[in-house]
Structures are given as structure tokens and as C-alpha cells.
């Protein structure tokens, strides 16, 4: 019940295309859903996050779509660029842990081809 399942495991997209990564969770007590971006040799960096009272949040080329009834959320990267090539992790937590006690998905390795 604590799991967060992420797909696909790897993704190849052409420059300018849309990258879509999906996550599903089971614990309905989760109420904070961040996405992290990680480059090789670096720590994960917060990209964008959403709470379940909204269905979509957009920051620049990055959008989270949230479906509370289906217990699913997804990351869309519009106009994907080679610099977006990285590993992306979805995560979930309960707000009372101040957003740091996270359950992570398995990660998606994104490669954007020029």
C-alpha cells in the first residue's frame, strides 16, 4: 500500500517532442506528489510538485496532471530538449512529514535525441 509505481523505465524522445512519465499510488493518505530530476553524479533536484486539490500544475515546459479518483499522476515535458536527458523520479508523501519522508517510484531514464 506504500508503493509508488512508475512507468516507463526508460524513454527515448526526439527533440521537440512530448515526454510523458506515469505514476500510480495506492495509499489515499498521500497528499503531496513531487517530481525530481537527477543528472548523473548529482543528487535529485525538485522539479515540480502538486497537492491533490488541483488536477494540473504547470511550470514552464513541465506539467503535472493529477487524477485523484484513479490514484495516478503524470509528468509531461513539452518541447523536450537534449538538456532534459536525465532520470526522473515521482514520489509521494503525507504533508505532516513536511514533504521529506518520501516514497519514490523506480525512476525513468529519459533520453532526448537531437
Amino acid at each position: 500500500q506504500q508503493q509508488v509505481k512508475q512507468s516507463p523505465q526508460s524513454l527515448i524522445v526526439q527533440k521537440g517532442g512530448i515526454s510523458i512519465i506515469n505514476c500510480a499510488y495506492e495509499n489515499t493518505a498521500f497528499d503531496y506528489f513531487p517530481w525530481y530530476q537527477q543528472f548523473p553524479g548529482k543528487g535529485p533536484a525538485l522539479l515540480i510538485a502538486i497537492r491533490p486539490d488541483v488536477s494540473e500544475k504547470k511550470e514552464g515546459r513541465f506539467t503535472i496532471s493529477f487524477n485523484k479518483s484513479a490514484k495516478q499522476f503524470s509528468l509531461h515535458i513539452m518541447d523536450s530538449q537534449p538538456g532534459d536527458s536525465a532520470t526522473y523520479f515521482c514520489a509521494a508523501s503525507m504533508a505532516r512529514y513536511q514533504g521529506g519522508k518520501l516514497i519514490f517510484g523506480q525512476g525513468t531514464e529519459l533520453s532526448v535525441k537531437p
Binding site: K42, L46, G99, G100, F104, Q106
Partner: protein, 110 residues
């Protein structure tokens, strides 16, 4: 990296030896966390702290202990390192919202 310093950045140690990893923050955040990252598993929480001397177990705490004697420092100790503890270890901090991660420590147990 949000004022987080992990040390050492790389370490090779032998099976059965004790190892201590250090996380130091300059943000004065209340919460600190230790995660490990392994291929196919994402990041998994080992232990976390919600204040000085206040710690609790995470998802994969067996074989690890932690201590927090000052707000700025959170130590992770492997009492007797095993090969299964070969991993990349990340410290994270959070205050009123999101968690921020350090650069990581790559630990190899041979």
C-alpha cells in the same frame, strides 16, 4: 544544493568494518533524512530525524543507525558493513515544504 554537504563523497570499505557518513546543513531545517539509491529501486528511506536527538526508522533501516546531536549534523552509521550496503547514499533536508538533496556518497563494501 540547498546548503547540504555530505562527506565523504566516495568510500571503499571492507566487509565487517564500521562506517559513518556525515550530512551537514546550513539551512537550519528541522527535518533531515538518509536515503539509499539502488538501480531498479529508486530511493528508499533509511532513517529520518525531526529534531535534535529525535530520530525514527524508515523503510530499510536494518543494519543502520543514526544520530543527531546538533541541528546541522545528521550521521548515518553502518555498524558492520555488508556487501548489500554497497549503494549511493543521499542526505535530504526539509523545512516547511519540499525536500532538498545533497550530492550523495558512493559507498562500496568489498
Amino acid at each position: 544544493d540547498a546548503g547540504i554537504t555530505q562527506s565523504p563523497r566516495h568510500k571503499v570499505t571492507e566487509t565487517g568494518t564500521p562506517v559513518t557518513l556525515r550530512c551537514h546543513q546550513t539551512e537550519n531545517h528541522r527535518y533531515m533524512y538518509w536515503y539509499r539509491q539502488d538501480p531498479g529501486h529508486g530511493l528508499r528511506l533509511i532513517h529520518y530525524s525531526y529534531g535534535v536527538k529525535d530520530t525514527d526508522k524508515g523503510e530499510v533501516s536494518d543494519g543502520y543507525s543514526v544520530s543527531r546531536s546538533k541541528t546541522e549534523d545528521f550521521l548515518l552509521t553502518l555498524e558492520s558493513a555488508t556487501s548489500s550496503q554497497t549503494s549511493v547514499y543521499f542526505c535530504a533536508i526539509s523545512g516547511q515544504g519540499a525536500a532538498f538533496f545533497g550530492q550523495g556518497t558512493r559507498l562500496t563494501v568489498v
